[in-house]
């Protein structure tokens, strides 16, 4: 088999496994059946089993990653649809997003230093708290790699799915905004799906803080890169 056929088969395998996995997950919503985990694990096993190189796998599947561009533009719609919440609570949403970026970068730097992680990994960790399209753009400024950042973003999201709701119930929060906002800013799209389960307002707020902190991370990336040195 020649390489272009193999890479096309990898693309088809990715699509097939993902949508099959999604159908299974809809019926049995378990954490380990999340498409982000199971599909990835199966594909990793497939690439390893056929002892193919990652560039070969990425040759055609990069078109899927390319779709993150139009997805960024599409985030305009949730902002427009929730413009009432934005108009009334823009200060709370903005402050929450700014706080999330500052804390995420600060704590990541401290933790990385305490654990003795090396420079390249630390730089890829810095933008991991925001949604993938934003994280990839920020990480380019911060000196991280797209692949590692993409992986860290997914792990962060999984923390949100596993722990997000529990943390919120342990906190004495009275407003719906304060329940949705942290899920969006700490665990991006994964957190948003949890927030949607809590209620439509929580879901809307989570999608807003997810977008706000993503955009802020990209805007702040040159400054953070300068500060980190």
């Amino acid at each position: 088999m020649n390489d272009s056929l193999i890479s096309l088969l990898f693309l088809l395998a990715t699509l097939g496994l993902f949508y099959g996995n999604q159908a299974v997950y809809k019926r049995h919503p378990r954490v380990w059946l999340t498409p982000a985990i199971l599909t990835s694990v199966l594909l990793i096993a497939l690439v390893e089993a056929t002892s193919s190189s990652y560039p070969l796998y990425f040759q055609d599947t990069r078109w899927l990653v390319w779709l993150l561009g139009p997805a960024t533009v599409a985030f305009a719609l949730p902002i427009y649809n929730n413009r009432r919440i934005v108009r009334r609570y823009w200060m709370a949403l903005l402050a929450g997003s700014v706080a999330s970026i500052v804390v995420s970068v600060g704590v990541t730097l401290l933790a990385a230093r305490a654990l003795g992680l090396d420079q390249a990994i630390t730089r890829s960790l810095l933008s991991r708290s925001v949604s993938t399209p934003f994280a990839l753009e920020a990480t380019a400024h911060l000196g991280g790699t797209a692949q590692l950042t993409g992986l860290f973003v997914v792990i962060t999201g999984l923390f949100g799915i596993v722990l997000g709701e529990m943390i919120l119930t342990l906190m004495p929060l009275r407003t719906r905004l304060a329940k949705g906002a942290p899920l969006g800013s700490a665990a991006h799209g994964f957190g948003m799906s949890i927030a949607r389960g809590l209620g439509p307002e929580e879901g809307a707020v989570a999608s807003l803080t997810m977008i706000f902190s993503g955009v802020l991370m990209v805007l702040a990336a040159p400054v953070i890169a300068w500060a980190v040195g």
């Binding site: 990835s40 796998y57 960024t72 649809n81 992680l117 992986l151 943390i167 919120l168 304060a178 990209v218």
Partner: protein
Amino acid sequence: MSSYPQVNPPRPAASWAKALGQVLLLGGLWWIAQRLATLLALPLSGGIVGLGLLVALLLSGLVKPAWVEAGAELVLGNMLLYFIPLVVSVVQYTDLLEHEGLKLLVAIGVGFLSVMLVTACVVELICQQIRKRRYGKLTDVRRDRPALGSQVS
């Protein structure tokens, strides 16, 4: 134009075609935004510029939400799929994960927890301030309003 009540739901093929067309529209907007960003030497990517552009177009009414709604839903609903190829890249980093995997989990977990806690507190505090101010205004209005019956006498 008369609006007939829609008896039959739109055929799936037609709605798919519509959504795909709208995805192309979003892609086109992204492309234009990218050209614009390089042309004006903005420090932003086409994604962010396109996002701002589309919000502005929607708010001004130049673009109707219905023109892009189905496409946006399709693109955003499948977003998980787009970064799976990036996750598969761990095959390149098996050594790293063997040695640093646990440390990475700790770093990410601690980061996640602190972001959750701080964001929740900040948003809760500001929301309560906003509500207090609005509630305060309402009581002010009520206080200044002449009491019922006072005008009659």
